[in-house]
Symmetry: C2
Subunit: 341 residues, 2 copies
Amino acid sequence: MDDSTPRAVTMRDVAQAAGVSVSTVSHVVNNKKGARIGKDAWERVQRAIQELGYRPNAMAKDLVKGRSRFIGLVADVIASTPFAGQIIRGAQDEAWRHGYVLLVANTEGNEAAETEAIAMMLEHKVRGVLYSAWYHREVELPAGLSETDCVLVNCFASGSDVPAVVPDEVAGGREATRMLLAAGHRRIGFINTTTPSPAHDGRLEGYRQALADAGVPFDPALVVDARPEQEGGFDAVGPLLAQEVTGVFCHNDRVAMGVYDGVRELGRRVPEDLAVVGFDNQEVIAAHLRPPLSTVALPHYELGQVGVRVLLGLDAAADDGRVVVACPPVHRSSVSITAPA
Amino acid sequence: MDDSTPRAVTMRDVAQAAGVSVSTVSHVVNNKKGARIGKDAWERVQRAIQELGYRPNAMAKDLVKGRSRFIGLVADVIASTPFAGQIIRGAQDEAWRHGYVLLVANTEGNEAAETEAIAMMLEHKVRGVLYSAWYHREVELPAGLSETDCVLVNCFASGSDVPAVVPDEVAGGREATRMLLAAGHRRIGFINTTTPSPAHDGRLEGYRQALADAGVPFDPALVVDARPEQEGGFDAVGPLLAQEVTGVFCHNDRVAMGVYDGVRELGRRVPEDLAVVGFDNQEVIAAHLRPPLSTVALPHYELGQVGVRVLLGLDAAADDGRVVVACPPVHRSSVSITAPA
């Protein structure tokens, strides 16, 4: 491709075509208050803008205002899961709704790239920056972010007053456990993750709360920590069935997928021999397992959306800086409607 | 959050701190050739920039040059698959390598959003626009894109000379079929998609070429079209086994996942009773099936990367405007090493 571009249409071209002065065109383009322009001249300018395809220079306009219409979004990983994509989509839809454009930078955990991305955003005078993680975790706030408004999305920084929009892990764990309780299960296993994280602690707390609410005593033998992938779920099936568990809450949908394989390997069936509930509602997996997986949704779209709303001052954070977003249950067919004998 | 921001550090602040004139600071900041500035003054300015945290206004600098450091990327869907994320990541890494920043807009198939996104990019004087689709398909080029350099990524526009970077579906289909042929299989089924697409036609052509190269006659009874999801694969297993097929090439990894379930349902095993090859190499699925799935990778990262290279004139398109990117085989454990009897 060659490096030349067609000469851009200028305000001068518009003025010439409309038979008015450049300053008249400028007043029309910038919708200047108090400028006296006749209806006829105003219409001629609009027509010339249409016909010539004149595009006002957004950078020049932003420069005059001293601030751009950009909101920055720094994402740690967007390549290997659809999660970050949903955060981006939620943030973008909400940004557009308020006349902003999302500038996305993806760092893949590279600190130099992150510093550079944030510097670029500051140079472009962004309205603020959303700093997001693909899984809910504690982060250290990059230094550059103190120079602009910032909202953390799906992460938080301890000892900082920067607002943090995070999923309600405790309520999510409660919802998942309740799906099994509601079907009559009493010996309910929980395959938690081996990764120390808010998800690990919050979902366990929710599991315990739901059991307590239902008057079912907590039995630590029914909780196992496993690698949060298919393999971790597969290996946990034998030990849990040996504990006479009839339903299991899995840390995520991938673990649940491994549980399905483990149950089949033993010649048993979901949900007849073991009811299964996941977490995430990862579309390519959850809806298409046999039977389709009952799970709890991680609200990535909403996290991005609420992040923008907090940044723009449309939603307020709690006193501790947190904004929690609900994780709703998604009912499919992996929990039997009546409890096994 | 309140709407006030701390007063930005200006060039005047830097000049005062360094004890030089504003024009000297400007010359240092813009690295102006021919300006005579003493080493001592130059260092004082640099130190003041550091200490005060002065950030040159990127928009102002770009405006002077009449072109920004942005490359636009319009993506149709980024929410529900990791594919678009990988295209974005590839494009972004390559853009950064050449001093550009990627402006991402996601339209979710909404034509009004698309028109607005492209207009926004043109207003910001982008260096050019990558227009991408999450699955390889024909698109109609939006009108606004004729005003800037454009490269299509994972899509193409018939009758247009706009360069199109696309996966090599034919070679990918050949690779998948060869994995089964190399293991000694001769009755090889192909579960293709019901969606008319370059993937449908190209992979079928590759399957036929590989069979012909190996001297295996093409048997249309071994090719079935199915919904490109787990359910489509599940339902195809019975009919294919009735045709005494020993290996099957699946249109994508999700179909392969359904085939695994169908094989188990009949009390049979992968790969002993049926060898399986997928397409996509979708990380959350392929590597974690039991047994791990042999497949062919769709090179989304490379599509984004090559898209930027073509836009910047670093890679050239063929005479027909196409740039094809290879789909490499990924060997795991779902193809037996010796053919079943």
